[in-house]
């Protein structure tokens, strides 16, 4: 990604060590002894079947749940609750139906009536970035699923977060919209240069978007594999047909098959 010498170890912007989490009264835990370092500016896909603890991991990082054990730090500071430096996109669009697109993007700051000029300018810029300039005054009820998720992407970026958390943001969309939004997400991420954690259960999606893929599966969820994706950026839809891409996809698929053979509760 950069021209820095390979030996210089960048301090990880996000560090998880021995994280354990279980919902009350449920055994085995969803996550146990999870350790993960993420380098600044990396795009990491968390890939795995449903029930592997991917979404739970994002909830912990967003500060919505607290781990029972272990530590999580963002830029050296422990994560103890929701933080402004973290932006998130959810599986469902989760827009306020009674607010305009513009107000929904402004939500992490303040609604338009109270926002500062700088915040309004930022929101308008983001709305333009995700291609919704003409829809800024509409209410979410008038948007398609793809447009609604674009609003979600813009809202995530409102505070220029250091860390982006994306929880299967495209899983409810049709295949065409998915591809288009993946392309746009790559472009936006290359502009904003934040660290991104992208949860998905789609191998092509993970390969297309990520620099690094962490495979999380089983109960308790553990890291089955952690691999680099040495494909050049910007990637295009043609990259999906490249031989490297096919080889990596095969490798990942075999990993899942092995994990099923090993008796992991992979659905």
């Amino acid at each position: 990604m950069s021209v820095a010498p390979a030996v210089a170890p960048e301090p990880p912007v996000l560090a998880l060590s021995d994280v354990r989490f279980a919902y009350r009264g449920s055994e085995p835990p969803i996550l146990d002894a999870l350790t993960l370092d993420v380098a600044e500016g990396a795009f990491v896909a968390i890939l795995g079947p449903s029930g592997g603890g991917k979404s739970t991991l994002l909830k912990l990082l967003a500060g919505l749940e607290r781990p029972q054990a272990g530590t999580m730090t963002l830029a050296g500071t422990p994560i103890r609750g929701p933080r402004r430096e973290i932006g998130m996109v959810f599986q469902k669009p989760t827009l306020l139906p009674w607010r305009t697109v513009r107000d929904n993007v402004l939500l992490p700051a303040a609604f338009a009536s109270r926002a500062s000029d700088a915040e309004r300018a930022r929101a308008d810029h983001l709305i333009e970035t995700v291609g919704l300039a003409r829809a800024a005054a509409l209410y979410p009820g008038a948007l398609s699923g793809g447009m609604a998720q674009r609003v979600g992407l813009a809202r995530m970026l409102m505070h220029r977060p250091q860390l982006l958390l994306l929880d299967e943001p495209f899983s409810a969309l049709d295949a065409m919209t998915r591809e288009r939004l993946s392309l746009e997400l790559q472009r936006i991420w290359m502009e904003e240069r934040s660290t991104a954690l992208f949860v998905t259960h789609s191998i092509p999606e993970a390969l297309f978007l990520a620099d690094r893929i962490v495979v999380l599966a089983g109960r308790p969820g553990r890291i089955l594999a952690d691999m680099e994706v040495p494909l050049a950026r910007p990637r295009t839809l043609d990259s999906l047909g490249a031989p490297d891409f096919a080889r990596l996809a095969r490798q990942l698929r075999r990993l899942f098959d092995d994990s099923i053979a090993a008796g992991d509760p992979v659905r």
Partner: protein
């Protein structure tokens, strides 16, 4: 043109009913002390309105209904917010709310008249009490049914609890609150009329009651027509307000289930 067409079917029904009613009360039909002909009811209504005899009653019933309705609704929304948002308050108060809700409030009318006198105050109290509970139950339900995913989203973006209440839970509850308000306006009218039946010197309920004593059935019907007009007008006003306030629900009619009286 389209509006005119929309009015035609109900107008046809009205004419048919009028004709059937006229026929039933015509020569050889029901005696007028049981069912007066529609023309007699219309005349009684018109003369009562024209010579001013109805107006003090109408004013009294409207005052009692509206003040009781406003006070009861305000109290219901505030109590509903407290119950929905405070576990402590809920634990202390909710069992009693359930108990009082199951009780027919109309049965309290004589007691309330003893406490608050035969004037306006007793009617206001009865009206407030009777429209309080459905709105209370709808407010609590509406706030509790706010989408947990929206709340989690707002928390992830560091929005404080009061903000989540104001901008997520309250708007989410708006249509349930309006459903409670719409039930309430009709119940409020019932409360006022029951109060006037039991003991009063004024009001449309009193008018109907005194007409009964005189066997003036046409005036009884005229009073009922006035009350029906209030009810229809009141719920249309609430529905119009709802369409403006809860605009994002569009023209959907699937209101949440209303509380019982």
């Amino acid at each position: 043109m389209r509006r005119l067409l929309a009015v035609l079917p109900p107008a046809a029904t009205f004419l048919a009913l009028w004709a059937a009613w006229s026929y039933a009360t015509g020569p050889g039909g029901l005696p007028s002390y049981l069912l007066p002909p529609p023309g007699a009811v219309a005349r009684a209504l018109w003369s009562g309105l024209a010579d001013g005899a109805f107006w003090p009653h109408i004013r009294f019933t409207l005052t009692a209904t509206l003040s009781g309705y406003l006070l009861g609704s305000l109290a219901a929304v505030i109590t509903g917010i407290l119950v929905a948002e405070s576990r402590l308050f809920e634990r202390f108060v909710f069992p009693y709310i359930v108990a009082v809700q199951a009780m027919p409030k109309v049965a309290l009318a004589p007691l309330i008249l003893v406490w608050f006198g035969f004037g306006l105050a007793s009617k206001v109290v009865l009206v407030g009490l009777i429209c309080f509970f459905p709105l209370l139950v709808n407010t609590i339900g509406g706030i509790r049914r706010a989408d947990p995913d929206l709340i989690a989203m707002a928390r992830a973006f560091s929005r404080p609890g009061w903000w989540i209440f104001l901008h997520i839970k309250l708007p989410a509850a708006a249509s349930a609150i309006f459903a409670g308000l719409e039930i309430g306006i009709v119940l409020a009218l019932i409360g006022a009329v029951v109060g006037e039946f039991v003991a009063s010197e004024r009001g449309v309920g009193y008018l109907i009651g005194s007409a009964t004593v005189n066997m003036n059935v046409a005036v009884m019907f005229a009073g009922v027509v006035v009350l029906a007009a209030f009810g229809v007008l009141g719920s249309s006003l609430i529905r119009a307000l709802q369409r403006r306030v809860v605009f994002w629900e569009g023209a959907r009619n699937d209101l949440p289930p209303a509380g019982r009286t």
